[in-house]
């Protein structure tokens, strides 16, 4: 049943969000700390457990995978509701800080990928 997959996904997302909030409160932070990441780890663990039990049915997979492939359209909808106008009209300080940070971080991705990649052979 596809709904089992979607319900499993919902359960992991909710648990992750709750744990992220708990972590935020524990660290005195006004934000959810890693909720989505925790939820992803829960889902990975749940999938491994179901596979071992032989309960990873095609229907269940469909209930999760549908949402995984809907991800890009959802990101497109997300892009359509960004405050692009404010970002464009923020003035030179905003542009310099934004462009500078992104350029620097892109360079660091290359450096980190190369350095760590070599270490792992």
């Amino acid at each position: 049943m596809a709904i089992y997959g979607t319900a499993l996904l919902a359960l992991c997302t909710l648990l992750g969000a709750a744990l992220g909030e708990v972590l935020g409160v524990a660290l005195h932070v006004k934000a959810n700390v890693g909720g989505v990441g925790i939820a992803m780890l829960l889902l990975i663990a749940a999938k491994a457990w179901l596979a071992r039990q032989g309960k990873l049915t095609p229907g269940l997979r469909l209930g999760v995978e549908f949402w995984a492939v809907m991800y890009i359209p959802i990101v497109v909808a997300m892009a359509a509701q960004q405050n692009v106008l404010a970002a464009v009209e923020g003035g030179p300080m905003v542009v310099i800080a934004g462009v500078g940070a992104v350029t620097l971080c892109f360079a660091l991705v290359a450096v980190l990928g190369r350095v760590m990649g070599r270490r792992h052979g």
Binding site: A68, A79, A80, A97
Partner: protein, 253 residues
Amino acid sequence: MGEIAQKILADQGLVLAFALVGALMWASAALSRHLTAGRIHASAIAILAALALAWWGGVLTGGKKGLADVPGFAGLALMGGAMLRDFAIVATAFEVDVVEARKAGLMGVIALALGTIVPFVLGVGVAWSFGYRDAVSLTTLGAGTVTYIVGPVTGAALGASSPVIALSIATGVLKAVLVMTATPMVARLIGLDNPRSAMAFGGLMGTVSGVAGGLAATDQRLVPYGALTATFHTGIGCLVCPSIFFLIVRALT
């Protein structure tokens, strides 16, 4: 006739958003195939078009939610909101290769640390050069360079002025938009073609919407790895910016 159209616009917001995004993706796929011979990813074109529409929506309404502020397109706010976005990101974890993810663990941590420190220092430096001298404003503007959530959270915690908070949000949003649009162009240059570098990318760029959009437009298979690290970024930023980073900035000013 007009009444019926209005009723449908009002009652079927989310369904309308599905149809709209579907049409946008279809047009982008056609453009990608015929104009660029598939060289520019259809999702990259769709995201760019969506950002352009968001700009247009902002001009039209003066609101903060891009195209979703235009009545009739309000369903986009639900479809592209944080709830469904996070739900779909979690779903992508179903295809994660656990061995690959584990191998990149240390790199993810290093990337997260660098991804918080480097933008913050840069943001503070730029704010300094634009004449800001008080620790609260400097920290808030530096935090905005981390992500557009860290900026206002830090500003609110420290009691920064409203224009400074607005500037910090604008910096973060610009960063997210730049990451979405530039990632597919620089992907090959920075070696963004495997799960490990995707995890470094997620930790360094941080902004979940930027990472999500950027990776989606580059290679869909990399999305879960980038999201896995990026999701910790905002939390860590909200943790260290108003505390340790603020104390350091105050000691230096």
